[in-house]
Amino acid sequence: MPSGTNKRATGGCEACNEPLLAARGVTRSYRVGGQPLSVLKGVDLELYPHEIVAIVGASGVGKSTLLHILGLLDRPTSGEVRVRGMDAAAMPEHQRSALRNRMIGFVFQFYHLLPDLDAVENVMLPLMVRHGYLGWRHRRGAVRERARELLSLVGLSRREGHRPGQLSGGERQRVAIARALVGDPAVVLCDEPTGNLDTGTKEEIHVLIRDLKERLGQSYVIATHDPHLTTLADRVESMTDGVLAPRPGPVGAER
């Protein structure tokens, strides 16, 4: 299964050799105005623990669609998606939702925070979704504490009570990153995480993702057309015309 190049340098344990996420022959087509439109035409991708894969390509090429499929938000037209070896395509919707909640964190270009909640509440949200009414009461304090920790990890400990509307773009994205991490997922899927930010802020997010990966150990898939962000990646895959092709990363390969 896993080829040698895909292995992490620090790997060797059995779990590390099993891909967290694996897409095989994934296609996705839509019908637009009665015409079938093929966005993905047979994508293969494996993601191993503790690695960052960057997916580059022009906008509209299908990067977001691939992330949605990897994140179990969307189902492929054909092909399979496995999460820790389990066939996610065969699962009923509620199981996919539960798996998504535990395994996957999302970071979006437009942050996608809930405007009615303050920063801490936004960060707590994945755990609120995870726990039912009964479990919530005695977990509430711990969850809030965890959310605070993550906010301070992303450097926002002073803005806990602020609503998204009171935060800058960079700050919002930090909250979104904290939210993606709070449930302790195995994989964080970032869809153009810096696409909406100015250069300085881009750099901050860049550094933040690198640090968080080192500290918390998640794997990342980052769809981006920001060349600078690809320097973080262990592997860079280039998407053109609905298929992925490996591109040697200038820095990442060394790590």
Binding site: L73, E93, S97, R100, H112, D116, L125, P126
Partner: protein, 447 residues
């Protein structure tokens, strides 16, 4: 957990949800007020109708009535739970005021023994004392003032029903006239009315005529009775209607518990053998039988009103629906986000149904509280309105009642509140369904 949290948060942070709850509460409040005032009117009206007549009557279907009413009275009084009886005679008459410009109309002349009549029904309460009569007549011309009250003080405030027919001056037989006839005919106490009646269909031409002196006025509160009825002493009426003093139309009966009137009717039928051999011409009627049309009108009114209230409930339902659909549209992106965080479509759905529940529940509870408070203080509120605007929303003249009657049927209120909560639930489903069917990917795609 997020479902409850978010539905409450969405509810709390949106002005429209307060408006929805407010609208719901207002609707429930109006429902409660209308139902309770309507119930009060109905109760008041039924009581008044019941009060006009005795609880039961045993009537003769024969043209000349029954011969020995006293014997029948004794027989009826032996039935357990019968409190009092009173014979009466009644016939249709033409009535004409004596004097210039006086009108004529048909009416019913009823012969009674005043003391016994007062014992079987509310005759004594309907009789107006001279002071009440003058006040009533005055108030039909202009609102009475304090000076008027001083004026009125010279009229006696009390009247003895047993002596209701006394005090005539002209030597003509006495008669009591309903307030509406008195007013419309322009009659006065001591004035004369002429009555014409016939007791034989075969010889209609041979009618009897009699002149009566008006000695008093009564007011039952039912327009028809106050417009049509004249009361004369039993024997006077007997002589006038059939020519001798042996006949009666029937016997009025008062029983111990008016709630058991139907049961007592059966008991009388059985004890007296009414409608059977020898008694085939006698029938027993309850007050409900005799006032069926009026009671039906009251029932109909309430039914119709409930029907109209359904539209109000529909209005509230649309209110919930439109607000929740707005909320779903506004929250489309949030829903996509929640799905991305692992929320199921069912969970997303319940955020909105829960909002509907809260709107329904809070709306109904607040509305119920306001409605109960309003109903409790409705007369104070009416007085307040009069003090502010000079216009009383509940004119006594029209309703014949001093206070706005209220009567809250808890069952009705429970149904009403239940329906509203149910509406909150049911009408949130389409909106929630719309939310749940949405593709999260579409919701997330754009800013």
């Amino acid at each position: 957990m997020y479902r409850l949290f978010l539905s409450l948060r969405y509810l709390r942070t949106r002005v429209v949800s307060y408006l929805a709850i407010g609208g719901m509460a207002l609707g429930v409040m109006i429902l409660v007020i209308v139902l309770s005032v309507m119930g009060g009117f109905q109760r008041e009206f039924r009581e008044r109708i019941r009060g006009i007549d005795s609880h039961l009557t045993v009537e003769s279907l024969r043209f000349y009535g029954l011969r020995d009413a006293e014997a029948l009275c004794r027989e009826i009084e032996e039935v357990p739970d019968v409190v009092a009886t009173a014979p009466y005679i009644e016939n249709i008459t033409l009535v004409r005021g004596v004097g210039p410009g006086s009108t004529k109309d048909f009416g019913f002349l009823r012969g009674i023994d005043p003391a016994r009549e007062a014992a079987v029904g509310s005759f004594g309460e309907f009789l107006l004392s001279p002071r009440e009569r003058e006040r009533e007549l005055l108030s039909r011309q202009r609102p009475p003032t304090l000076d008027d009250e001083e004026d009125l003080a010279r009229f006696p405030a009390a009247v003895d029903p047993a002596r209701a027919f006394e005090g005539g001056h002209t030597g003509f037989p006495p008669v009591l006239v309903g307030i509406e006839m008195f007013w419309e005919f322009g009659l006065e106490v001591g004035g004369l009315v002429r009555c014409l009646t016939s007791s034989d269909v075969e010889r209609m031409k041979d009618s009897q005529e009699e002149t009566f002196e008006v000695v008093g006025v009564f007011k039952t509160g039912i327009w028809d009775n106050d417009r049509r009825y004249l009361y004369a002493p039993l024997d006077v009426a007997r002589r006038f209607i059939v020519g001798d003093t042996s006949r009666s139309s029937g016997v009025s009966v008062r029983i111990r518990d008016h709630g058991r009137v139907d049961e007592m009717k059966g008991r009388l039928n059985e004890a007296l053998g009414l409608g059977l051999e020898g008694r085939y011409h006698l029938r027993c009627y309850t007050w409900k039988d005799r006032k069926k049309s009026l009671l039906q009108a009251v029932e109909m009114e309430k039914w119709l009103l409930s029907f109209i209230l359904i539209f109000m409930v529909a209005l509230m339902a649309l209110n919930v629906l439109s607000i929740l659909i707005m909320s779903v549209v506004e929250k489309t992106r949030d829903l996509g986000i929640l799905r991305a965080l692992g929320g199921t479509s069912g969970g997303v759905l319940s955020i909105f149904t829960a909002q509907g529940h809260f709107i329904g529940f809070f709306g109904a509870t607040i509305g119920l509280g306001m409605g109960l408070a309003f109903t409790r203080y409705i007369n104070e509120i009416a007085d307040g309105i009069e003090a502010l605007t000079g216009y009383h929303p509940f004119p006594k003249k029209i309703y014949y009642l001093d206070r706005i009657p209220t009567d809250l049927d808890l069952g009705e209120v429970a149904i009403c509140v239940g329906v509203v909560i149910l509406i909150g639930f049911l009408f949130s489903v389409p909106a929630a369904y719309k939310a749940a069917r949405m593709d999260p990917v579409d919701a997330l795609r754009y800013e």
